[in-house]
């Protein structure tokens, strides 16, 4: 027989201001099975929890209902309180009086009536609760980091330094991501490559890191501590064991194509490394363009290769491995402004470029050897217009969010331009200047002092007039139309989630937010975790960031991983499906709907009513795999398979209680 205790939390005035907590507590006294009921200012506080523990003893309670905030907040807290009070932590139900009652209603009488109903539901449910006990599952002490940009590399290094094995996967032929493409980093103006490429090397040489460049994660099964992952390595056509990376092949390759790494501004051979300091520092063959692979002719690289490393018959290969944790570090892409910004010419004016083009231009190792040149005619621009928030903060046309890094890198670009072109003019059209960060605003101020002209307003039109780009816009501060005849226009385009990141998230088993960024488990309290246990977030895949933030978050994710991998086993959630074998007829429908392949038909031998030995099939659930979704329970007509903690009779009682 249940002896239920009910505790109504005021949450200061958060609940008490709209719900008459005393009245609710009084009403609860009359509910079937309730032997104690009271209200209290802060249930989650130390004294509040003590109050529960004392009441358990004093009134010999064996089931507890706490009506306070959302269970997503404090369910765990109170479960522990019960455990400390000597009860099974699952003899507990929580009523959401704050987020789903007091905060969304204003009529005290009605809100109180509703609160009473909500508590009645919890009491009805807890009356059917049963003691549950968790089991344990092993943890594979190996981490998978997906994406080897600065965030991925940092996370991998931190985990590896802590002594855990890491597999670092990147789909590009080289690791490093976007950072090495940049010239200088704000606000300190130190060389981006100079600080990122050493990290790349460190990663490559770390004994605990297994690098898998030119590879993609294609399948993820399992669960925290035990993710079974299938990874595809694309065909490189070069045997990286034999290859010394001497680069002879690249110089001899007869066909040159635009180099993605320079955003098409420079050329590369068809057997290539994306850039000189690439890691691994060994080439791959671009099968789309290679003459040998497309037409069968050529074969020069194979001929010149001193180690005979070129293998035209190379094919993609697959490995599967098991990991205890996964770090998502898939980074960002730039918004395709050409598709929507007609006023900027839909990309038909060659001298309207993005910030990343500009980075490659000013980069000494870039296609122009560090000279700022107009893509159209290679001349040095005298007047450059920088336009911020292209695609960002533009809910009408593109993205509503702020891309966070643009204000600073635009300031950097303007600074670099006037720096390299003393007689040049830099105009920056902006909506706001956002420079929150150490030494950020100082940097912006210095750019102003350098002579960059900031105009507050959006650009309404750009059109070609002879050799010039006429930029029409408004200076909203003086309320005047302005027109600038520019030689080049640089767009600070929005960051968007990198291509394929949504599919990858679904493969891993969690969901991106509305903009496609990876959703953290809690915006404030769990910023580097995903809702899927054992999967963590690093860098811009979670949302636009600059380098310092990405690196910091990567470190945070690494710590979470290390915490997980430091355990050799984990407690499982006991709220999983369970079969009543006397009722189960072994039809197997539940097996087909389980997303975790956690249910199997298992044959049992028993005696039938007449005493004959019979062997029949029943559903059996693997608690390690079962995540407790309950999809199986609904397919089971007689309810032979039921979900612990959300059993059919519990839910039916909740429903019934509303109309008693």
């Amino acid at each position: 027989m249940k002896r239920i205790g009910v505790f109504i939390c005021h949450c200061g005035s958060n609940i008490a201001a709209t719900v008459d907590c005393a009245k609710v507590a009084e009403a609860a006294k009359a509910f079937p099975g309730v032997f104690f009921s009271s209200d209290y200012k802060y249930m989650c506080s130390e004294p509040g929890q003590e109050f529960i523990k004392d009441s358990i003893k004093k009134y010999d309670l064996n089931a507890i209902v706490v009506a306070s905030c959302t269970p997503r907040m404090h369910e765990h807290t109170f479960r522990k309180t019960l455990a400390n009070g000597g009860l099974n932590p699952y003899m507990f139900e929580m009523t959401n009086l704050r987020e789903q009652c007091s905060w969304v209603h204003s009529d005290i009488e009605k809100a109180t009536d509703k609160a009473i109903d909500l508590v009645r539901m919890s009491v009805a449910k807890v009356a059917k609760n049963e003691e549950l006990f968790s089991t344990t599952i092993p943890v594979h002490k190996k981490a998978l980091v997906i994406g080897a940009g600065i965030a991925g590399m940092q996370a991998a290094l931190d985990i590896a330094d802590a002594g855990h094995k890491v597999v670092l996967v990147d789909r590009e032929p080289t690791i490093g991501g976007k950072m090495p493409m940049l010239d200088k980093t704000f606000p300190t103006m130190d060389c981006s490559a100079c600080i990122s490429t050493p990290k790349m090397v460190e990663v490559a040489q770390h004994p605990n890191i297994e690098l898998m460049a030119y590879s993609e994660v294609i399948e993820v099964n399992g669960f925290i501590g035990n993710f079974d992952v299938k990874i595809k390595t694309k065909a490189k056509y070069v045997d990286h064991v034999k290859c010394t990376g001497c680069g002879l092949c690249e110089t001899k390759c007869p066909k040159k194509v635009p180099n993605e790494y320079d955003l098409g501004m420079g050329l590369r051979s068809c057997i290539y490394k994306p850039f000189p300091q690439a890691v691994p520092n060994k080439p791959v063959i671009d099968a789309q363009n290679c003459l040998k692979l497309t037409s069968g002719k050529c074969g020069v690289c194979a001929r010149v290769c001193p180690t005979g490393a070129v293998r035209y018959d190379d094919t993609e290969s697959f490995i599967t491995d098991t990991f205890g944790a996964i770090v998502m570090a898939t980074g960002y892409d730039l918004y395709k402004w050409e598709d929507v910004y007609g006023e900027y010419g839909y990309g038909k004016y060659p001298d309207v470029v993005t910030g990343l083009h500009f980075e490659r231009m000013v980069n000494a190792s870039g296609p122009t050897g560090g000279k700022i040149k107009r893509p159209s005619d290679g001349t040095t621009p005298k007047t450059v217009v920088f336009i911020k928030c292209v695609g960002s903060r533009d809910s009408a046309k593109a993205k509503s969010y702020c891309s966070r890094a643009c204000c600073m890198y635009t300031a950097k670009h303007a600074h670099q331009f006037v720096d390299k072109t003393p007689e040049g003019n830099a105009y920056v059209f902006y909506m706001d200047v956002r420079t929150p960060g150490k030494a950020y605003d100082e940097f912006y101020e210095s750019t102003l002092r350098d002579g960059a002209v900031y105009l507050r307003g959006r650009v309404s039109k750009i059109y070609q007039d002879g050799g010039k780009l006429i930029v029409k816009g408004e200076d909203s501060l003086i309320g005047k139309q302005v027109e600038v005849a520019a030689d080049m226009v640089v767009l600070a385009t929005a960051m968007v989630p990198s291509a394929g990141s949504r599919e990858l998230a679904q493969a891993v088993g969690f969901l991106p937010d509305l903009n496609g960024w990876y959703q953290e488990a809690h915006p404030k309290l769990r910023p580097v975790e995903t809702p899927t246990a054992g999967v963590f977030l690093a860098g811009t895949c979670q949302g636009p960031k600059d380098i310092p933030d990405s690196v910091a978050q990567a470190g945070a994710a690494a710590v979470k991983v290390c915490g997980l991998l430091s355990k050799s086993e984990l407690e499982t959630n006991p709220m999983t499906a369970r079969t009543n074998t006397t009722v189960c007829s072994g039809c197997g429908i539940c097996v087909s709907v389980c997303p975790y392949k956690a249910i199997q038909l298992q044959s049992i031998t028993e005696r039938d009513h007449h005493g004959h030995r019979i062997t029949r099939n029943v559903a059996s659930v693997n608690n390690g795999l079962c995540q407790g979704c309950g999809a199986c329970t609904v397919t089971c007509r007689p309810g032979a398979i039921d979900l612990q903690g959300f059993k059919n009779d519990q839910i039916l009682e909740e429903v019934d209680s509303l109309w008693t």
Binding site: Q100, S106, D113, M121, C629, G630, A631
Partner: protein, 144 residues
Amino acid sequence: MDVIEEQKWEPKILAFCCNWCSYSGADLAGLNRMKYPENIRILRVPCSARVNPQYILRAFQKGADGVLVAGCHPGDCHYSTGNYYTRRRFLIMKRLLEYSGIDPRRFQARWVSGAEAEKFRTTVTKLCEDIKAIGPNRKLRGLK
């Protein structure tokens, strides 16, 4: 129900919300202090796929004036595929309810993500308005 009762009648609407999306969407509505009618009673389930269509029959039998089943958007299920089954089940149950004479406005299924507090608010508000308009449910109601 006599006229006087009729006048002070307030509908009682049961909303099954999946823990990961719709329930947290409702929580977010709370965080944002959005207001919606008091008539909604949320029942938390791990996944919309846990909602047995028999619960809906039961709710109406007990006296529910309306029932809402809310889950993650297709493709966004925390359990990756649960809501695809939910979708099929309730496409069928919705039609069966209608066929047996329940006013289709009394039962709704909706996808509400954890970010869609506003959608949660508008959904339940609209549902309430509809049901206030059609009045108390007298169908399927069993003897208490």
